[in-house]
């Protein structure tokens, strides 16, 4: 049977898709701004965050309204509660893109400390994870979501490389490099946090599709 409720769920779906696109764009722009030391691109990301904040509130209100009016059950309930969680994760991801952009502003006028190698790798991993996490939600694809969860260790590994290099090869040897090394260290940290949020989205998607909570238990992936 066709339900009017399905049209409302479809609108929610669209909004979350839009939120995902905006968050992905924010990460992409902030990472590109870092690579080419583009202050105006970084400022654009910072400015653009208010639209994402507004959309987050809109989506939350939509979810609360759907719960209040329809008292959804089963797969409808799992979709809406997951949508609410995915919404906050995406908003946090966009905030981290803002954090990266602020680091870009700190670094832009200073000479480059070193050529960036692992940070671009980490940014690729984080963008892939966010893209796949959003795709898994849109397509209700638990297999893809599980792949995202498993990618998180790669992000942790890259973050550790960056951290060890900046601390041991630069800051420990020459304290004057700290004002350029610390922002880079933070960028790596922000990117790694983005991966954590992508992982959270993916775990929520597994719940939405399979009604199984795998959070904090990666052994439940199989």
């Amino acid at each position: 049977m066709e339900r009017h409720f399905d049209d409302e769920l479809q609108l929610l779906h669209k909004d979350i898709l839009k939120m995902g696109a905006l968050a992905q764009e924010a990460i992409y722009k902030s990472v590109e701004a870092l690579k080419i030391r583009d202050k105006s691109a970084a400022e654009e990301v910072i400015k653009g965050d208010s639209e994402i904040d507004r959309l987050e509130v809109d989506i939350d209100e939509k979810c609360i309204d759907l719960i209040a009016r329809h008292q959804p059950l089963a797969s409808d309930l799992r979709f809406i509660t997951t949508g609410m969680k995915v919404n906050s994760e995406l908003e946090r991801i966009a905030d981290l893109a803002v954090d990266i952009s602020q680091r870009v502003l700190e670094l832009a006028d200073k000479p480059l400390l070193k050529p960036l190698i692992d940070i671009p790798k980490l940014s690729t991993v984080s963008q892939d994870m966010v893209r796949d996490a959003i795709d898994s939600f849109i397509k209700k694809d638990a297999g893809l979501a599980k792949k995202v969860v498993l990618s998180d260790s790669e992000a942790d590994k890259l973050r550790n490389y960056v951290q060890n290099e900046l601390v041991n090869d630069y800051m420990a040897k020459d304290a004057s490099t700290a004002d350029r090394a610390v922002p880079l260290l933070l960028v790596a940290r922000h990117l790694e946090r983005i991966c954590d949020h992508a992982t959270n989205i993916a775990e929520d998607v597994v719940y939405m599709v399979e009604a199984r909570i795998i959070k904090h238990h990666t052994e439940k992936l199989e």
């Binding site: 008292q71 089963a74 309930l77 799992r78």
Partner: protein, 253 residues
């Protein structure tokens, strides 16, 4: 089979004339639990609970096979007194049906027909039943008033008190809140949650949220078959059967 069940249906088949209303139902209902039975109109859920207290016997051309165990004893056996079973397995109906008598007499009547003559005992039992049914506070000053002057929600609680007075073990509720407003419904639901501490409760309801709020187990009936029985929490978040999912999300039909 479920040997821990207080009351248990085994291979129940039921016919109204040639039409089969229940198909091979196996379902156990446990003490101190609320079992909700949900399903679209005509799925056999009311028929099923009417079999549990032998009320099907009153239906012309009805035919039944299978067994119903109450505390392990088959109550469909020929040596069973249905009146005795209906005392042990009480029923509360959709529409409150108090007798056109006083509040007091509505409850004392059941005791008197059971041969109890001790007036003090009867009075104590009336008060105790009204208290258990969460009605005492509202009627204590007017026990001799006609029951028909009570509100719908109060009448329904009076019917519950009447059922409790004869000390049942199982209470069957057939859509007990269908004709009540949300406040009265809330009171009945609170009462059901309180009563489950002492009784085995089975409730037929069309209200999905009501089943979700009050029951521990939920059984979904469709076209005379038991499609799925499970913990209520799982049935309403992640039902196993696609038909259950379609029904509770309103995609059915």
């Amino acid at each position: 089979m479920d040997n821990q069940a207080k009351i248990k249906a085994e291979n129940i088949n039921f016919f109204y004339g040639k039409a089969q209303a229940l198909k091979d139902i196996n379902l156990g209902m446990h003490a101190n639990e609320v079992t909700a039975i949900i399903g679209p109109s005509g799925c056999g859920k009311s028929t099923f609970i009417r079999i549990l207290n032998l009320m099907y016997e009153l239906i012309p051309n009805a035919r039944l096979s299978g067994r119903i165990f109450l505390d392990g004893e088959n109550i469909l056996g020929s040596n069973i007194d249905p009146v005795d079973i209906r005392k042990r397995v009480g029923m509360v109906f959709q529409k409150p049906n108090p007798f056109p008598k006083s509040i007091f007499e509505n409850i004392s009547y059941g005791l008197e027909v059971n041969g109890i003559r001790d007036k003090n005992f009867i009075e104590e039992k009336v008060i105790e039943s009204l208290k258990k049914a969460a009605l005492w506070g509202e009627v204590k000053g007017r026990l001799r008033d006609s029951a028909l002057r009570l509100s719908g929600g109060q009448q329904q609680r009076l019917c519950i008190a009447r059922c409790l007075a004869v000390e049942p073990e199982v209470i069957l509720f057939d859509e007990p809140c269908a004709s009540l407003d949300p406040i009265s419904t809330g009171k009945i639901e609170e009462l059901i949650l309180e009563l489950k501490k002492y009784y085995t409760i089975v409730i037929v309801t069309h209200n999905m949220q009501q089943a979700a709020r009050v029951s521990d187990k939920t059984a979904f009936f469709l076209l005379g078959e038991l499609v799925e029985i499970g913990n209520t929490k799982e049935m309403f978040t992640a039902p196993k059967d696609k038909k259950t999912e379609a029904y509770i999300t309103g995609r059915f039909g």
